[in-house]
Amino acid sequence: MAAKWARKDLLGLETLSADEIGLILETADSFKEISQRPIKKVPTLRGQTIVLFFFEPSTRTRTSFELAAKRMSADIVNIQTSASSLTKGETLRDTARNIEAMKVNIIIMRHSSSGAPQLLAESVSPSIINAGDGSHEHPTQGLLDIFTIKEHKKKIAGLNVSIIGDIAHSRVARSNIWGLTKLGANVTVCGPATLMPPEIEKLGVKVTYDIKEAIEGADVINMLRIQLERQGQSLFPSIREYAMKFGLDADKMKYAKKDVLIMHPGPINRGVEITPEIADGPYSVILEQVTNGIAVRMAVLYLVSGVKERIE
């Protein structure tokens, strides 16, 4: 393995090389076994402190990061923004500087503004891990999706991956697109025109508005959640119409390959973007994605914690 890890932070997959992504995936593969042991803990991050700084609700990602950190023996602190001094008018950077002053090693943050983790990464010495920023990137989700695909298909290069749903608001879509295209996959994005960002094809993806076209020939179908909380106005006539046109159901699965993988980053709106029979069906790897998330996050924590160069 030629790649070396020299980044203090993980902000997105856009800036990573294919080798760096490969290193994270291989490291995660070694970490996966730890969660199957009777004693699910290694001493690697003993004495390191990790702050989880979530400005948006999260169950999966926060729990997954928390378990990953605990299984590596790190100490963790959760900051809930509703109970923090940000409600008293403190700026994000000041809050982060104060956390830094408490000698914290890693800050894992989720924020509704794209670029917020980058702002902190440039101003404080702890490693910043982006756990989702606005509609920009969600790198560990992208990585765990790619890890899950690789586990099943043994490769990424040459695979046809279709990402279907609300592309415009989805940081998961963007991290997947960056990661998959760097590793040589053919990515197709599909959704209603109102949920398709302009010029998305510049990222090297194929665009279609016809779900049949996205399903046919796909080795992997990644269904995105309809993000009702991020929509200022109504971008499609009704949930029901969306489900009919862009929801994955048994009828549309007739166009799929026999060995297709069905993925979803969660949380699922059952009956909207995916029907329960497909989400719980034989092609679905949705819960495997959750299991793999811990291994991928352990790998990321391991790699960034070893970087010695810090902002003074």
């Binding site: 490291t27 070694s30 290694v42 690697t44 391991y302």
Partner: protein
């Protein structure tokens, strides 16, 4: 820093007979192979473990469980090394609870690797006992650890390094003592 080869202290034949001798000693010492399993430390200890399990299996005519342990995550010097070492897979597909574990490594030196391996092993359960087999014991222990089975004792100075080469990883078998050039 360059390494200058000083002496070849074991060749392929000597490695082979050392493994055979250790295999016999383990069986004799433990009276039977019932409840016995072998775990090698990656990279070359795991390769030795595979060979040892093969020899022992042939002697007693039954398969001996064998696993591989990666100790990177247990190292006590992670804060000192320049960058994070690559983590390899730990593969122990059997329950170690109540088993006699033969822990295998290529070179026994300071004892710190073995200390890590003991910690790692115990996270998999509570073995009945752990015995240590090494191909080369070169002295200079920094911890109270000793080998139960050693292929060869090689007195060395701390300026020297001992390199075990194995066909599976290095293309040939052999043990070399080398010295760091100033």
């Amino acid at each position: 820093m360059k390494l200058r080869e000083k002496a070849k202290v074991m060749d392929a034949g000597q490695i082979e007979s050392a493994i055979v001798r250790i295999a016999h000693e383990i069986i004799e010492n433990n009276k039977s192979v019932e409840g016995l399993a072998i775990v090698g430390i990656r990279t070359r200890g795991a390769l030795l473990a595979d060979r040892l399990a093969g020899k022992m299996g042939a002697i007693v005519d039954r398969e001996i469980p064998v696993g591989a342990l990666d100790i990177t995550l247990y190292r006590d010097d992670l804060t000192d090394v320049a960058e994070q070492p690559v983590v390899h897979k730990t593969e122990i597909d059997f329950d170690i609870h109540d088993k006699v574990i033969i822990l295998v490594d290529d070179v026994l030196y300071t004892g710190r690797t073995i200390r890590c391996a003991l910690d790692a092993l115990i996270d998999f359960g509570r073995p009945k006992s752990i015995q240590l087999a090494v191909l080369v014991d070169r002295g200079h222990r920094e911890l109270p650890i000793r080998a139960d089975y050693a292929g060869k004792n090689i007195p060395t100075s701390q300026k020297e390094t001992v390199q075990v080469k194995m066909k599976e990883a290095d293309g040939e078998d052999g043990v070399i003592v080398a010295e760091m050039e100033e």
